[in-house]
Amino acid sequence: MTSRTKSLIGFGVVAVVLNLVPTVVESLDAPSFYVTFMFTAFFWISQSVSWNILTGYTGYFSFGQGAWFGIGVYTTGILAAKHGWPFLLALPVAGVLAGLGGLLLGMIVFRLRKQSGEIFALTTLAVAFVLASVARLYSFIDGGRGIFMTGTPLPAFLGDFRTAMFRMTFVVAFLTLLTAFLLYESRIGWGMFAIRDDEPVAHGLGVPVFRYKMLALGTNAFFGGLMGGVWSLQIGFVTVEDVFNIRVPLFVILMSVLGGLRHWMGPAFGAVIIYALTDRLNSAGLEDLNQVIIGGLLIILVLAVREGIYLRLRARWKPALAVFVLAIGVWTVFDLGSSLIWDFFYASLLTVAVALVPLKRQPDTAASPASEAMAASDRSPP
């Protein structure tokens, strides 16, 4: 059995198990915020993993995640809340419209005579601002009035609101991860990695670079928009300020950089850790500190752990797993945390600390290529 088949079976098992979570939580009479915690984590997993398909795989750094997310939010908002479309019918439209938005951007920036990663990054930064002003300008989108999503009917088979959110976010996150994995293990994915490493050389060896960059950007935007479409429900009252702000791109970048851009799993890993971190900080009443910590982490991570912690932890998976299990055990037995989420949080922090401990000799993990992945600069073909 190849490793790919094994992984696909793993995907199937995870899908079945996670799908049961809301039912189990309900039957155990456990607090329902566990479900909320998990579906918010799914949201961030999907956003950062899809972002990584563009930025981690092809090396084109994007600030544009907020734009794709926003297109998705407003699409389901307009179609389902304003025009009464069935929500599940509006959802795929959200993904497709965001994907088309990505392709449109790609048609422009990937055709430029002078291409560079920096120009691309700054253009994506501008896209969200433009979309924000378009949304404010036209009343058929928003016109400055916002859209109420509360009371949008959902099909009965999805369960109550929380369970429905869990199921929908889970399906989207699952599809995003599966796509990221299948690309990672395919010819197309490797073509993208070659673009990241040296685009002109990849082109000369036969990689259709334009097509692949479009594919990466389109996939990124599609999943960003699809999850955005689901998320409009959680937002409740959709406004331009809440949707097209710097929050989504900022978190997505941080999560992916923390987890590592070189592996399809990295950003998912980073998403869970950062989300758990901010969730706990917020519940401890430290919202103001949040951004300072996040900004600081971003700086430190870019300089210190260039390959991301996922690859590091994988290389040290035995001590890492031991620490995690031990910590969960100690915390639960001695009842140190006030809830299971706190236990999980402390255990994760300790595990991450394992990844951050610098080791003198680590030939397989401290490989310098990671710095090149981060620094996919020099991409101006003559």
Binding site: R111, L125, S133, L137, D288, V292, I294, G295
Partner: protein
């Protein structure tokens, strides 16, 4: 003649001067030092808030705040560049790291001055309401001064870059830092000085913003959409280019505002950015060979 349109053009030219001052620092560090420093947006914002604070608590004329803001900005630029040199960051990492710095300052600003709008009181700020007429066209003194400063910076930097040893060193670094180093130029020192100068310009822009706009921490996000079109249209590292591009963007946004309403301005500037990238990626005001 259409008076409203003429007014929009004149105001656009003048506000274009402010856009140039806001952009010139980022343009210089990007073009010369290959550092994309988003933290400049923080220093524009800080410059504005410090001016507001000095005016409000000490009753200073806003322009006197320059005495504090210029050295403060210079020092911040020096510190940042020293950090970038020590950490040996490349262009790409500088983008992410300075994004982190930007986020931290954003939060700090919000903590100190809250998210409420702040405006310098009319009593201590004579510039806001001061204006005169040329024919039927009103000229706001605050933006006129900013435009004058933009012209002064453009001229001053041109003289500095063409007539002095420092300027020669900067141009040598643009061509090739390694060769510049081989010829005995202290690249690190030149870079630190230039970064200080660039950040001081950004902070100065903040002072002028404080003279005629209400301040809020989130306003810095809106600047991204103005500054990057100006930087790219003007050509990386070009101070004269920044002035020309600032005026183009200012006029285009001003005309768009009068014709289609204020929200269309950022659409128009974005279209200008795209057009600039498509047809003139090296900038309107630079020769093909440079950078």
């Amino acid at each position: 003649m259409n008076d409203v349109l003429n007014q929009a053009i004149v105001s656009g030219i003048l506000i274009g001067g402010l856009y140039a001052v806001m952009s010139v620092g980022i343009s210089l560090t990007w073009g010369v030092l290959k550092i994309i420093n988003l933290a400049h947006f923080s220093f524009i914002l800080l410059g504005a808030y410090v001016t507001y604070q000095l005016s409000t608590t000490l009753g200073w004329d806003p322009l006197i705040a320059l005495v504090i803001v210029i050295p403060g900005g210079f020092l911040a630029g020096v510190i940042m560049q020293v950090f970038f040199e020590l950490a040996k960051v490349d262009e790409f990492q500088s983008l992410i790291i300075s994004f982190g710095i930007f986020i931290i300052f954003q939060s700090v600003t919000r903590t100190i001055w809250t998210a409420d709008f702040r405006r310098i009181d009319g009593d201590t700020n004579p510039y806001e309401s001061m204006s005169f007429f040329v024919g039927d066209i009103a000229v706001q003194v605050a933006t006129l001064i900013a435009f004058g400063v933009a012209v002064a910076i453009a001229i001053g930097m041109t003289v500095l870059l063409t007539r002095t040893y420092f300027g020669k060193a900067v141009r040598a670094i643009v061509e090739d830092p390694e060769i510049a180093r081989a010829y005995g130029i202290d690249v690190r020192r030149v870079a630190v000085l230039l970064s200080g100068l660039a950040t001081a310009f950004s902070a100065v822009a903040g002072v002028f913003i404080a003279t005629f706009q209400s301040l809020s921490p989130n306003m810095s996000f809106g600047w991204f959409g103005i500054v990057f079109p100006v930087v790219i249209l003007g050509g990386l590292g070009s101070t004269v280019g920044a002035l020309g591009a600032g005026v183009i963007v200012g006029v285009a946004a001003g005309v768009a505002t009068t014709e289609w309403g204020p929200l269309s301005a950022s659409l128009v500037t974005f279209l200008i950015l795209i057009a600039a990238l498509l047809f003139r990626p090296q900038g309107l005001f630079t020769r093909q060979s440079s950078t």
